[in-house]
Amino acid sequence: MAQPANVGELLSMLDSTMLGVRDDVTAVFKENLNSDRGPMLVNTLVDHYLETNSQPVLHILTTLQEPHDKHLLDKINEYVGKAATRLSILSLLGHVVRLQPSWKHKLSQAPLLPSLLKCLKMDTDIVVLTTGVLVLITMLPMIPQSGKQHLLDFFDIFGRLSSWCLKKPGHVTEIYLVHLHASVYALFHRLYGMYPCNFVSFLRSHYSMKENLETFEEVVKPMMEHVRIHPELVTGSKDHELDPRRWKKLETHDVVIECAKISLDPTEASYEDGYSVSHQLFTRFPPRSADVTTSPYVDTQNSYGSATSTPYSTTQLMLFSTPRHLPQTLSSPSARLLPEPLQATLWSPSSVCGMTTPPTSPGNVPSDLSHPYSKVFGTTGGKGTPLGTPATSPPPAPTCHPDDYVHISHTPQATATPPRKEERTDSARPCLHRQHHLPNDRGLEDLHRSKGSVTLSDLPVFLGDLASEEDSIEKDKEEAAISKELSEITTAEADPVVPRGGFDSPFYRDSLPGSQRKTCSAPSGTRGSIVNPEPFHSSLDKRGPDTPKQAFTPIDLPCGGADSSPAEDRDRQTSLETSILTPSPCKIPPHKGTGFGSTQPPPYDHLFEVALPKTARYFVSKKTEELLKKVKGSPEEDYVPSTSPMEVLDRLIQQGADAHSKELNKLSLPSKSVDWTHFGDEIRTLRDQLLLLHNQLLYERFKRQQHALRNRRLLRKVIRAAALEEHNAAMKDQLKLQEKDIQIWKVSLQKEQARYSQLQEQRDTVVTQLHSQIRQLQHDREEFYNQSQELQTKLEDCRNMIAELRIELKKANNKVCHTELLLSQVSQKLSNSESVQQQMEFLNRQLLVLGEVNELYLEQLQSKHSDTTKEVEMMKAAYRKELEKNRSHVLQQNQRLDTSQKRILELESLLAKKDHLLLEQKKYLEDVKSQASGQLLAAESRYETQKRITQMFELEILDLYGRLEKDDLVQKLDEEKAEAAEAAEERLDCCNDGCSDSVAGHNEEASGHNGEAKTPRPSGIRGSYGARGAGGSSSSSELSTPEKPPSQKAGPLSSWWDTTVGEPSTSIPTVGSLPSSKSFLGMKARELFRNKSESQCDEDGMTIRSLSETLKTEQGKDSGVEAKSPLNLDGPHLSPPAPDSVGQLRIMDYNESHHEHS
């Protein structure tokens, strides 16, 4: 915590003129800030700065570190709220922001931003507004993601300020409006570049309102003419634009370049890519690659410059070498060849890395690139080195150079050598850079400025002479240093088009009135000759060096007073310049002055038209218009809404500077102070203007810084690419080496392989030899093995043999033993046998003795029994024979027995067979019997039926007979009456004959018959007469009943009996009138009747049946062999035989069948 007093002291010390003190104090402050985290010190510093506007404080404030940012922002915020301090605090903020502190991302969150926006929306002071807008524009790329919240505010601000540009509310001076317009224009670019969709939609909504339409027409529409269609409008969306991810990838300078890309305004645009690149490529490459003679540039050259017999070689050189070639050509023709590859490598990155490196600004990339380049040349040749830088610096205007050189070369044609001319022109160009550079310079480049001032003082002389080479060299050196500086600093203003703008700027215009007509004609001529922005550049280049060179000195002065001297210098310079330029004859071609647009365009003009289709044409026409107007002497500024506000501003600045210098010149210093109050108002205006200008420049510088950042990055990439290429080459070399190695190795490998194969072959042969050896050995071994086996088998055999022999030996031994034993036995036996022999001998002797004795006895015996023995022998023989006989007999008997037994068996089997057969036969018999019985039954039934039929027939016949008889009876009734007596007599006879029999029969019958039957019976028995009589007597009854037939039946029976007895049948012819067969019939009839009556009594039926059967049998016998049976027929006697016969029949039947079968 520093005490306030202490702080105040220190602050006062900070402003001391002593550099050392200042540095010390600054160091103290920084230390304090490092140690102290409180807001006190920062607040004090801010206050102090606001009071004194002191540079050291500003320096301290802008380099504040992290923890103090909040305090600073709070403080600024605080002061922004106050109208009095707003302007200065905003400029402070601008300073802070432009340096891009590490905490810049916090800006979006800080309350400062809304208050700034609010201030921009509310404030009416144009100076504040312009400053604020510029600050805002500077801030926007740093905090792109904050757009989300404040986008509408930005748009509102834009809307408000754009309307301001037109409406000019209140007391606003037009001068200010130009500034405001420029800043609004920048804001437009920024907003359109960053948020195209949102912005366009805002524009659409905002300017669709009628009250804004005019603003649109007047202000916004011209602005829109300077922008391309943003690609985001096609591919993006509102939301996508605001997406933080989109912005995360982009750094601040990326955003700035992004915005510059879409600009068509040459002052704003970036030529990094798109058509601008192609434009450059088109312009750059053809000359390089084209042949000298065929190049169209030759023609142009010829037409333009060679008319005055320029040394062909120089023009050629100039023509063919693009600005980049210049140093080489200048250094030495011999060295020309050398740099080319270098150059190629140098330039390749731009196209190779695709970064669209070719910078639009002259001081950017080319200068950077030229550093190593120039160094190289610096050592070789003094002239070449300085030239390198300027030569490379203006690449965006490559085509201009030839012309440029042509123009210039014409001036010094007689005296100056071509290189010198080049140097001169080149030296002029760096001056131009310096011119732009100068306004931006503050205290940073004091050294160079002082240097510049030194050279500048000499420069006019030098320029005036145009012959002193030394000066030019000196100047070149200085230029090289400056360009180096420039490249290091890299301003956004280094845009190549700026000089162009500068040419059109008020400075130029302002200078016109003061300067001779020639100057005007010169640029106009140049421009007319080449309808291209570049000529202006070049022309300005020539003119430019003067103005800045004067400006060097006054810049050391404080801002406020700086205005006078530059203007003065500029004036002087312009005059000088014009004087320089006038000698050039080619600048004023005869036809240039008449018509600018109608001038014959160079052959490559169309390229620009292609590249910058409309804007170029438009721009050119505008410019010519302006120029015409200027020629007329009407220095109006803001009458051209379509001109870029930047240009307008530029012009204004120039004009203002001129005016200021004039004023100041008019006034002596004291008078100046006296009239301070009188001119206070104007001064204030001027001051404000200056402030605005300052701001503008600061803003431009900021842009330049961004470009520089970008350039650095690109350079880094280029270097990296180069390094990589180097690396690649190295790698390639290595690769080659390795390949060589590999080849060597391959060769050796082949060798080795050959050796190896050789070795292998050797080995193979050895192996085969060994194999054969092995085989042989094996063979041997096998042979040996076989031999050994044979031997072994032999051995075995021997062993076996030995064993056998041993066994044999044993056996032999055994045998020996045995034989020994036997021998001993034999010997014993021998001894025994000897003894036995002895005995035998003894016995033989005895035997002999005994035999003799026996013989003796035998003799004795024979003599005694000779007969008996014979008898016995005979007997024995007999017995033997007998025995033999018996034996054979027995044998015979046995045989017989056997045969008989067999026979028995046979017979038995036969018997069994027979039995079986019998059984079968029986079965069959049974079968047949049943069959027969079946048939018989059928036959029987048939017979029965027949019987029935017959019966029926009989009945029928009887019936019919009955009817017939009835008729007869009726006829013979009379005749019969007469013979009644005779009939009675005969009846008596009959009674006598068969009385006993008939009585019994009648009795039986009577028992079975009704009473009715009694009457006919006697008559029936007594014969036909009786029957007839009976019939006659009871004719009526006969008719009614069937009782009559029995009587009739009796008749026949008796008659039968009669005939059999032998009675003369003649006696009964009448009776015989009844047919003899009738007797049988009658019986039948009777039976029938019986049958009828069967239903009443069955017993009788039986007898009757039997009777009938008997009858049948008798009939069957027919012949009547047995007379007895007819005798028995009568009465009940007949019945017994009937059953008998039936039985017989049955038996017979069986027997018969039996017999048949048997």
């Binding site: 049943s930 039934s941 039926t945 029926m952 027939f953």
Partner: protein, 293 residues
């Protein structure tokens, strides 16, 4: 054994599954192949199974004794039978008992009368009830048997069998009928008793005529199969089944006359089912006749 092997071994199962008569024809053919036909086996067969119609006449003739068991004598016997038939026919024609216009059934009747010696003196004599029975049976038989001779003989023998063999058992049938009816459906019997229709049921039609004229011939012959093969009890069960089948209708009728009248003219459409059920019932109560080998 050979017979068995010829038969389908599945035949045993056919009946279990409910197919009847699949193998009967074959087994009958086997039976009929025997020389010296086994009458008993034939009887058992025809009691157990319905006879195939193509063998029915033959089996009946054998069973009724018209043909002997021996195949050999069949032709001869049949010739006898034919002769006998033609003789009788001739005789009847000669005696003018019949003429060409006389219906066949009456011809049969006359022939039967002649054979049984009961031929009336004149054709105009009133017919006895037994004659009516004969006529009914003959009429039914005429439908079943094509040949006149066969028809006559079968009818004759059938009637003779009824008159001789079943003379004793037939009168007991009504009693048994009541008994079985009570077993099967007591309510029905009680209803019949209540209507006092039990004694007035058409017993004559059922048992004397053996349902001739009551059932259609196609069903009737199945009943007669059993009758011919020696079981007159089937008649009883047919009667019971008829009552059971028409139970609802019979129950609806209240007077004995109506019941009798209805039973005498039962609808013929369900006769087959009745007979099948009756046979089942018979088997159920009397047991399936086992083959007495």
């Amino acid at each position: 054994m050979t017979e068995d092997s010829q038969r389908n071994f599945r035949s045993v199962y056919y009946e279990k599954v409910g197919f009847r008569g699949v193998e009967e024809k074959k087994s009958l053919e086997i039976l009929l192949k025997d020389d010296r036909l086994d009458i008993e086996k034939l009887c058992t067969f025809s009691q157990r199974f319905p006879l195939p119609s193509m063998y029915r006449a033959l089996v009946w003739k054998v069973l009724l004794g018209i043909l002997p068991p021996h195949h050999e004598s069949h032709a001869q016997v049949m010739m006898y039978r034919k002769d006998q038939y033609s003789d009788i026919l001739h005789a009847l024609k000669v005696t003018r008992f019949i003429s060409d216009t006389t219906p066949q059934v009456e011809v049969y009747l006359r022939m039967h009368q002649l054979e049984s010696g009961k031929l009336p003196r004149s054709p105009s004599f009133l017919r006895q009830p037994e004659d009516e029975v004969f006529l009914a049976i003959a009429k039914a038989m005429e439908e079943m048997v094509e040949d006149n001779v066969d028809c006559y003989w079968i009818t004759r023998c059938f009637v003779n069998q009824l008159n001789n063999k079943y003379r004793d058992s037939l009168p007991h049938l009504p009693k048994a009928f009541e008994q079985y009816l009570s077993l099967e459906d007591g309510r029905l019997l009680s209803h019949l008793r209540a209507c006092s229709a039990v004694s007035r049921l058409p017993y004559d039609l059922w048992f004397r005529r053996c349902f001739a004229g009551c059932l259609p011939e196609s069903s009737l012959q199945r009943v007669w199969d059993k009758v011919v093969s020696g079981s007159c009890k089937i008649l009883l069960f047919v009667a019971v089944e008829i009552l059971l089948t028409f139970k609802i209708k019979v129950m609806a009728l209240n007077s004995a006359e109506k019941i009798t009248k209805f039973l005498e003219n039962i609808p013929q459409d369900s006769s087959d089912a009745i007979v099948s059920k009756a046979i089942d019932l018979w088997h159920k109560h009397c047991g399936t006749p086992v083959h007495s080998a």
